[in-house]
Symmetry: C2
Subunit: 252 residues, 2 copies
DNA sequence: TAGCGATTAATTGTATGATGATTTAGCGTG
DNA sequence: CACGCTAAATCATCATACAATTAATCGCTA
């Protein structure tokens, strides 16, 4: 008893034994990674129990979670079927994470970039008239962190993500705010793929700072323009990274 | 025991297998409807079992579903806490449905309208170069149904929703396509609230048809303009319905 | 009495097995 | 060959028990 608890608390890197969470992630990653292509029915629940070494309770709850994400669809007697990719909730942060940089299709990346070029300038415009002082301070801090990151590409990307997430939040539009997840995905892809391609971050950082200035002056038009510039740079980097395969439409 | 089962099978307007689905909807509606305000911990699972007359398995699976939607957050020993509204996934169709026209806050409606005015014109522009013949035909059919609906406001709204959903789909942008849910919410609210306010539907229908024409001619700019006009009309109706309370920003 | 550490108790998390419900598949019959 | 029926496989739900986690309580010490 006591020693058991003691042992657990000692080996505590897994101090949160969230079994279900891990199983959900495992199955989700298996699906998003292509090991269970759309249309296939995945093994029956009792088999999944053995595969992942957990009880049926956990398997079921995990499948229900995946079902709400649009990944699978369960029907009595026939099993749980992997839905078509079109039905996946690609706005879900976890799904994007499970897909990972290797699986993110060029089509989806293009969609994300297009969406960002549509939404972020509008959000920047709105933020100019609605951002709180705290939010502007957060944005500035993100810029500082981006500058301090210098060599650390990961830290730079994290700060960059925080910047864009805060910007969407500062628009005080609940719908825009929900789109933060796709920015994480886009940036994590860029981070993964651009390890050796030293993109010009200084230039981007300057525009970020200019955007914050515009917000401080409540200059919506200028903030909007800055946002467009940032995304132009992102688009350039992305198309370079992908070798302009996939025929990315850079119009709009 | 046995009588319980008998009672269940007898009272079976719910003879469809979806017990869990109903429980999920019930709890979700209770939360979205304000009966469990954010911050409160809802009853413990065993109590919920009695309340809804189902087993703990069903309760748990329902709670896990609600958790993935960002409505609640469960922690061991303490219970499941209702998350702040900011964490709710307001892009989820079911949540919007559970909130219902009466609970949809002016803020959220404003956010949705803003988002539509940002996204839909862009989607229309893209659709002009990407829509398939089938999608254009679907759009035209939706227009016809809107015309045929004449008096039936519900049918008109359904066709209208189909139009805008198809338009987003025709943009062939996966992110935009996922935003269909918010359109349903916006239109269902308008449907609910505008029972007596006879909005001018003919005018809107003409613009819808013009948009389809623009798509057929691959005229992106014109399609974009039409989309803006449609949303201007929608914004006018909405602000009239809400008596311009909430201070809807109609800029942008 | 105030502060603090260990114990306890209550609730969620997981496991197990059984039963009912539903759909697919196979079979038999006209 | 078509059609309906039986039957088996699998999910859906239930019931129960145990483990893990943490808030709350009790008791000890200064």
């Amino acid at each position: 008893m006591t020693d058991k608890a003691t042992r657990r608390s000692l080996r505590s890197p897994l101090r949160r034994p969230r079994v279900r969470h891990n199983v959900t992630a495992a199955i989700g990653a298996d699906i998003c990674g292509g090991r269970f292509p759309p249309g296939t029915v995945l093994p029956r629940e009792s088999d999944l129990c053995e595969t992942y070494g957990v009880s049926r309770t956990v398997i079921r709850e995990s499948l229900k979670v995946l079902e709400t994400k649009g990944l699978v669809r369960g029907r009595p007697r026939v099993g749980t079927i992997v839905c078509d990719r079109a039905e996946w909730n690609v706005l879900d942060a976890q799904i994007l994470e499970w897909m990972g940089p290797d699986v993110l299709s060029a089509e989806l990346l293009g969609s994300i970039l297009e969406a960002r070029r549509t939404v972020e300038p509008a959000a920047a415009f709105l933020a100019a008239s609605r951002a709180t002082a705290q939010e502007i301070a957060d944005l500035e801090r993100a810029c500082d962190d981006m500058g301090d990151a210098e060599g650390d590409l990961e830290a730079f990307t994290a700060a960059d993500a925080r910047f864009h997430e805060t910007l969407l939040k500062a628009s005080h539009n609940k719908v825009f705010h929900q789109l933060s997840s796709i920015i994480h995905a886009a940036l994590s892809y860029a981070l993964h793929a651009s390890n050796r391609a030293a993109v010009k971050r200084d230039e981007a950082l300057d525009v970020h700072r200019e955007l914050v200035d515009a917000l401080r002056l409540r200059d919506g038009a200028r903030a909007e323009t800055c946002s467009r510039q940032i995304l132009d740079l992102a688009a350039r980097d992305l198309s370079r990274l992908m070798g302009d395969a996939g025929g990315l439409k850079t119009n709009l």
